[in-house]
């Protein structure tokens, strides 16, 4: 998930960080998505864990996500410094030394992976280790500065948490966990490109090859529409699996109709119109995309409750 907030503790340049600066290194807003989707993956799995094991698993998955955020901030300090959106992050603002961010990232990576392995199982720990590696090395160090497809492939890192949650509970990977992965993976490109459309100057200044920079805004608008169209069957198809159901289908139909409409409106607009209203449509689609993801996973969670099962039986749903 994108982290568009840039207000920190105001200790820039002191070199003596407060606790909040270290918390900001873990990208707490991104962590909130990790916590939520991992929790859904854990709770909808057919095998239940002890509540304390569930709590521990969610905490250590979140900690792993935070660790990769710290490694990202360590490596990307140079480009963060020139982007308006990220210039006040703890490393470019001078509140935290780059080496501290690296140490925190590596330390928390080790702790989170080992502890998740001890609390649940080795598959979940292995997936978490791979996710940290994927985000910090494959995405941050390689793809981000190398290809305009950076967020398409890099989106996988953000898509792993529900799969890790499911693996923590069941010790396996299944169709349902792959579908939850696919939901986030397919959602990431239109979500990020909508952001890039109204943050283009930032990426241009930082020489990050976002699609808007390398292929232009017209192509980015077309890409948003294409990827949103590709997302819809994945989202709707999930309704007919063990984690879906009638409530999920109803929610998904509405959200995907709105998302498609938004993507269509973005595609129809030209730059002059967008600039004239300060990218109002792009910003509204970006916000809608956040709600899209949150509500899809909320619907998956609701479908796991006995009331949803009773409703499905009542209407003769055979997903």
């Amino acid at each position: 998930m994108s982290d568009i907030r840039a207000d920190f503790t105001g200790q820039a340049g002191t070199g003596d960080a407060g606790f909040g600066d270290y918390v900001q290194l873990l990208k707490p807003r991104v962590m909130s998505l990790v916590v939520f989707t991992a929790m859904v993956g854990l709770l909808v799995a057919p095998v239940g864990l002890h509540p304390i094991e569930t709590l521990a698993a969610i905490i250590f998955i979140a900690l792993g996500g935070g660790a990769s955020g710290a490694l990202n901030m360590w490596w990307d300090a140079d480009i963060d410094a020139v982007m308006r959106r990220t210039a006040k992050r703890p490393v470019p603002s001078g509140a935290v030394q780059a080496g501290e961010a690296l140490a925190l990232g590596l330390g928390l990576s080790g702790i989170s992976v080992v502890m998740l392995g001890l609390a649940t199982n080795l598959l979940a720990a292995g997936l978490l280790a791979f996710t940290i590696f994927f985000y910090a090395v494959i995405y941050t160090m390689w793809l981000k500065r190398a290809t305009p497809q950076n967020i398409v492939i890099g989106g996988a890192a953000g898509a792993f948490p529900p799969m890790i949650g499911w693996a923590a509970a069941t010790g396996s990977i299944s169709l349902e966990s792959v579908l939850m992965f696919a939901l986030i993976f397919m959602w990431t490109p239109p979500h990020f490109w909508a952001l890039a459309l109204f943050m283009n100057d930032d990426y241009d200044k930082a020489k990050v090859p976002m699609l808007t920079v390398t292929h232009g805004r017209r192509a980015t608008r077309a890409h948003i529409l294409v990827y949103t169209v590709a997302l819809v069957p994945v989202a709707l198809g999930t309704a007919f699996t063990a984690i879906g159901g009638p409530i999920y289908l109803a929610v998904s139909l509405v959200l995907n109709a709105l998302f498609l409409l938004g993507a269509w409106r973005i595609w129809r607009r030209d730059e002059d119109t967008a600039r004239a209203d300060h990218y109002a449509v792009e910003k509204s689609v970006f916000k809608l995309s956040l709600a899209w993801l949150f509500l899809h996973f909320t619907a998956i969670l609701i479908e796991a409750t006995p009331w949803a099962h009773a409703l499905a039986r009542l209407i003769g749903w055979e997903g």
Binding site: G18, F19, Y22, H50, I52, I59
Partner: protein
């Protein structure tokens, strides 16, 4: 420049130490809770607890002869 007792630096360091202390405390509580949860679910461990009890270890039990 001498640091005043109430300097912002002290406040930040206090906050940092407090935050770290609370985090470590929470971590200890979590590991303790995990230990309790694991032990509660660990009936199989009895076969190897303190003194070996072969009658609790399913891997050493020979199949009973059938008539």
């Amino acid at each position: 420049m001498a640091l005043h007792r109430e300097h912002d630096l002290h406040r930040r360091r206090w906050g940092r130490n407090l935050g770290l202390g609370l985090t470590l405390g929470a971590f200890i509580m979590l590991v303790f809770g995990l230990t309790i949860a694991k032990v509660q679910n660990g009936s199989q461990m009895q076969g190897f607890d303190h003194s070996y009890q072969p009658e609790l270890d399913s891997s050493t039990q020979t199949p009973r002869a059938t008539p």
